[in-house]
């Protein structure tokens, strides 16, 4: 696939605080890429660098192989759905959406048609004459999406566009946005701190923390093969335990040696061991498995969340079967369920992120 945008080694500092530390990203034609990370990790800043509102201190941004560090926002072929909508308060719904088309001198009858299409798309037909101040947060957000989309940009930047919506509408809009993206064949760069949203919508997820890319990959990669404890913990709940890698395919944690599927670590290297709560099965206590005492049981709707104290660590387990507090139970998992990670070290993570992105580029 053709690479549309490339970000090379971009760094940014605000008031002496390093907000982005060497970001490398390539964004392909027609890709739905999500930047995922906790609040303040630099997602918006990355997006604003692509939009042209922030100039990187270091590194370059390329569109179709052309360096565009100094191209002003109004000349870039991207449109943005801003985190806080930023609608024009002096214009009504229709004129807000028509703004970009009027700037590019599209004839009024075509504008009318395209605005109508957009309003239908975001399910706000009949709102043309309404003042944007009188709309609810969710309606304003949908107007902001329509205002950006109507220009059919090559790349659409979306900064937490569904943040203000209730769960129901949020789910609907997720599906809607995904459909729009596929139908109009637009590249989406989507910012969110909601991991579920990232996993359900994206082709590629970029996990960020403290201005560093932790991992780039498909939702499955990110979920099943987190590269470090941060990613594992951020993408769904995880049990993260200190361990030692004895040799390839053999790891020690929780007082036992376990077979695993990971290799390539130094002998006796201290590592983080990650096991997903839903990968652990509750079984009868026996010598074959790790045993522990049930500490709490919480009903979560689809499953029970059971906390077990085993080998003086608390393990979170999701199980459809309930258990009683105080029971002695066994924890069972297969070698495939054990994920071994290097201990978090920022320098190593940034090297990691680059390898991952290069791997991905090779895949495509």
């Amino acid at each position: 696939m053709e690479t549309i945008i490339e970000i090379k080694n971009v760094s940014k500092e605000f008031n002496g605080e390093k907000v982005l530390k060497g970001i490398n990203l390539s964004i392909h034609d027609n890709e739905f890429m999500t930047l995922l990370g906790p609040s303040g990790c630099g997602k918006t800043t990355t997006l604003r660098i692509i939009g042209g509102f922030v100039t990187p201190d270091d590194g370059d941004v390329f569109f179709y192989g052309k360096k565009i560090n100094d191209v002003p926002p109004y000349k870039r072929p991207v449109n943005t759905v801003f985190q806080k909508y930023a609608l024009f308060p002096h214009l009504n719904v229709y004129d807000n959406i028509a703004f970009g088309l009027r700037i590019s001198k599209v004839p009024e009858n075509e504008i009318r048609q395209r605005v109508a299409e957009m309003l239908e798309l975001v399910n706000l037909m009949g709102y043309e004459k309404r003042s944007v101040d009188n709309l609810s947060g969710g309606q304003q957000q949908r107007i902001a999406i329509a205002r950006a989309l109507v220009n059919s940009p090559k790349v659409l930047l979306l900064d937490e566009p569904l943040g203000a919506l209730d769960l129901q509408l949020r789910k609907e809009m997720q599906i809607e946005l995904k459909k729009i993206q596929q139908r109009l064949k637009i590249t989406f760069i989507y910012v969110t701190h909601d991991q579920e949203e990232a996993l359900t919508m994206s082709d590629t997820v970029v996990v960020m923390n403290e201005g560093i890319i932790q991992q780039i990959g498909t939702p499955q990669d990110i979920y099943n093969e987190p590269t470090n404890a941060f990613v594992a913990n951020f993408i769904g709940e995880s049990n993260i335990l200190p361990g030692i890698m004895h040799r390839d395919y053999l790891v020690e944690f929780a007082g036992n040696n376990f077979d695993c599927v990971d290799a390539g670590f130094a002998p006796m290297e201290p590592v983080d061991v990650v096991i997903r709560p839903e990968d652990i099965k509750l079984v009868e206590a026996s010598d074959e498995v790790l045993n522990g005492v049930v500490e709490t049981v919480t009903f979560k709707g689809v499953h029970y969340e059971i906390v077990v104290n085993a080998y003086s660590d608390y393990w979170v387990i999701q199980s459809t079967k309930s258990a009683n507090v105080g029971d002695i139970v066994g924890l069972s998992f297969t070698p495939e369920d054990i994920h071994i990670m290097h201990k978090s070290k920022p320098a190593r993570q940034s090297r990691y992120s680059r390898t991952v992105s290069e791997d991905m580029a090779d895949d495509k």
């Binding site: 939009g51 042209g52 509102f53 002003p72 926002p73 109004y74 991207v78 449109n79 943005t80 801003f82 806080k84 930023a86 609608l87 024009f88 308060p89 002096h90 214009l91 004129d95 703004f99 970009g100 700037i103 590019s104 205002r147 950006a148 220009n151």
Partner: protein, 311 residues
């Protein structure tokens, strides 16, 4: 309105009645009435007849029976209002000078307010202080200062003389009056503009840029329409005092450029003592200003609705 808020509003209501409603009512009363004198039977006296009676009375002042031989009456009249038409040229001149002064204030004030509103916060405070600094000096003093600057042998002419130009007649011209208005009222233009411009969210400007608008478009389609309320109040705040000033024209216009304010002043405190006429002129001016204000407000409302389509 709850009874409690009514109660809280009472002092303001009282204030407004004492200092706004009553004076206004008095002006209206004065404008539409005149004092006439009648004899004791109620027959209207002409000026000559009245003078005769008065002199007669004054001469026989020490007589025991000193009941006044005439009566004073206040009657409704339109003469004063009609009389105002004699002064239309003065009114027009005042309006014209006020319009020029307001336009200059807008031309200087708008870009300045915009620049200030885009500065760093600390700088903004400093600049605002500089804008307001002259206002802390007495109005008369400020205007006097301009007199000494503009005089034929004042500072400006002296300086120009050093490089061999001039001297120019600057004082006692309409230009000097306009200069005085601009100098004195510019802050009233800058402050409302500044306060509305700081409220313009930077993100709306970025959104416009994002949608393809260059700086010029951003200005004409976002900044200008969003700052129209500030323009309207700035215009009002400069135009109203400019059109009714009398000190500035007297000090810098040298009496040859009489403005409507001078005229009113003359009727109350000057030689032409005639409060009824003074009130009538004030009332006409008041109505005129109200009209101007409602027009600017109208403009402002329209701009708010479809300002984006104007340009």
């Amino acid at each position: 309105m709850t009874s409690k808020s009514k109660f809280l509003a009472a002092p303001y209501l009282l204030w407004m009645i004492i200092f706004i409603v009553i004076p206004l009512a008095l002006i209206v009363v004065f404008a539409f009435t005149t004092t006439v004198y009648t004899d004791l039977e109620g027959n209207l006296l002409s000026n000559e007849e009245f003078d005769e009676l008065r002199i007669e009375y004054d001469n026989f002042y020490d007589m025991a029976d000193n009941e006044l031989p005439y009566k004073k009456q206040t009657v409704f009249t339109l003469t004063h209002i009609m009389e105002v038409s004699n002064y239309v040229p003065v009114l027009l001149n005042s309006v014209w000078l006020a319009i020029i002064a307001t336009a200059i204030c807008l031309l200087i004030g708008y870009p300045l307010a915009y620049l200030i509103s885009r500065m760093r916060y600390g700088f903004q405070k400093l600049m605002l202080m500089m804008v307001m600094l002259p206002m802390w000096m007495n109005f008369l003093l400020r205007t006097y200062a301009w007199m000494t600057l503009l005089e034929r042998n004042g500072w400006i002419n002296k300086l120009l003389g050093l490089v061999g130009i001039g001297p120019f007649d600057m004082i006692n011209t309409q230009g000097a009056v306009v200069l005085g208005m601009v100098y004195n009222y510019l802050p009233y233009m800058i402050l409302p503009l500044y306060s509305i411009m700081t409220k313009i969210d930077n993100r709306t400007i970025e959104a416009a840029q994002d949608l393809g608008a260059n700086s010029l478009r951003v200005f004409s389609k976002v900044v200008l329409p969003l700052s129209m309320p500030g323009v309207a109040s700035g215009i009002t705040m400069v135009f109203v005092p400019s059109v009714s000033t009398f000190i500035i024209s007297r000090m810098l216009g040298g009496g040859t450029n009489m403005l409507i304010g001078d005229l009113i002043d003359l009727q109350f405190l000057g030689n032409a003592y005639n409060p009824n006429l003074g009130s009538a002129i004030s009332l006409v001016l008041l109505v005129f200003i109200l009209l101007c204000m409602s027009i600017t407000n109208q403009l402002n409302n329209e701009d708010n609705m479809d300002g984006g389509m104007l340009l």
